[in-house]
Subunit: 292 residues, 2 copies
Amino acid sequence: MKIQTECVPCLLKRIIFEAEHSTKDKKLRTKTIKNACKLLSELYDPNICSATIATKVHKIAYETLGDHDPYKDLKERSNKIAQSLVPQVEELIKKSDDPLRTTMLCSIIGNLMDFGISGASEHPELLREIFEETFAEGLGHDDTKEIKRLLSKSKYVLLFTDNCGEIVFDKILCRELKKFNPDIFLTVIVKGEPIISDATIKDVEELEFEEVSDEIFTTGCFAIGIDFEKIPPMLEKALNQADLIICKGMANYEAFSETDYYPIAYLLRTKCTAIANSMNLPLNINAVKIYE
Amino acid sequence: MKIQTECVPCLLKRIIFEAEHSTKDKKLRTKTIKNACKLLSELYDPNICSATIATKVHKIAYETLGDHDPYKDLKERSNKIAQSLVPQVEELIKKSDDPLRTTMLCSIIGNLMDFGISGASEHPELLREIFEETFAEGLGHDDTKEIKRLLSKSKYVLLFTDNCGEIVFDKILCRELKKFNPDIFLTVIVKGEPIISDATIKDVEELEFEEVSDEIFTTGCFAIGIDFEKIPPMLEKALNQADLIICKGMANYEAFSETDYYPIAYLLRTKCTAIANSMNLPLNINAVKIYE
């Protein structure tokens, strides 16, 4: 997705959130905001991918703050909250007549734990309060049937993860993907470096993803979504041989929608009109949408 | 009020709104956004008044767009919509056992017609839909009793107006102020140049404010709220001799809260947390608050 005008204030809002979350030093906060505005004034170009610009703006914010992981505590809290919801999620899956679909929905609800933007929860603990009502909303766009069709004949499946918190539900998703088709070779991809509240190798190791996947890769770098110019060769090879790519969250859509990797399924909450419009979906829905 | 971090994305949102409203030329829109970000990166300073920075950022946006009045049509539509609501407002005042208070409330509801920011109506026509429910909300903070006390012993009263649309109700407010105390000398102040959706001399002339006021001044320049370094000497004199200053809208609060002009009453809708927090009021209420 190319950057939209509305991405500019939204990105700055997030930068302010991370500056205020990272430090009490007002001078440092001010410097971070000024640097982010300056870089945006240089980089803003409606022909450039939103994720590419966001990566660079977050990079300068992290550097200015001297903080390589401003969301560290929020990520830990998010994982904890999500783990406390696992029994509820397992019960819903057990009772469901479509376990894979139910798992995908729960995994998308986890995507509501996102910070510093509108349409997401303000603090991890909120997820507990909104889980049930969001589950009741169901999938506002539902291509799970198409995913199952592809999944049943797939060998190589990639899962690009997004935030901490939801990563806990993504583990259950991996298990259910393999239950649906035990023959798949499942590669899970996390971020190469801490960036916003996204999951890194630390999270999947702690959550023992090796139990439910065949391979774990990282994106190899600091990037919102994925920076295709910097991905490790092994990941590039995996992308080229994938029979199905599953992406969690908006940033992966922002990055992948600029590529020709197909078939690709996005599992996300449409938290902003830029993404919702680009995907031709309503705002604030749980969506499973496939592009073949 | 000093600029708050949240003012930065909000101001940019407004700049984007006016760029998109002013031109279909995407290059010009992009240039406007880039210039606004650049200027913000230079000017952002938590020790500076928000209105001062906003004035400069809007100035560069207008210059880049080559448009000295991007809100022209919205202002005209706002006035029309407000005028269509006058019979309803007059009926409410007529029925009211506190006409001045009811008039103030209606005049504040008009303040909801504001564009390109959250907490306000997206288009003028929306006011018609939300008028009744907003009226039913009443005043969330009500210092009308104190205003009346001051008004009854005042000679020189100044009314600083805000947006078009609400200016129609401000005329009724002038009439009711004079009805309450016929001895006051009422000066109405509008903006010296078109800036966002604020009323200018053109509006008060068309609405025949001379019927309800004794004197009409302008702020003398292009400014969000008021630029005290550029006000005409006559307005400065009026400010110094005023027994009561009444200000409509948030921008006037942003500017006047940095001065020592008292007693001063603000009539506004708290459309953002920056203002709400600064005034120690809840968000999204109709407020009449006096500082003595």
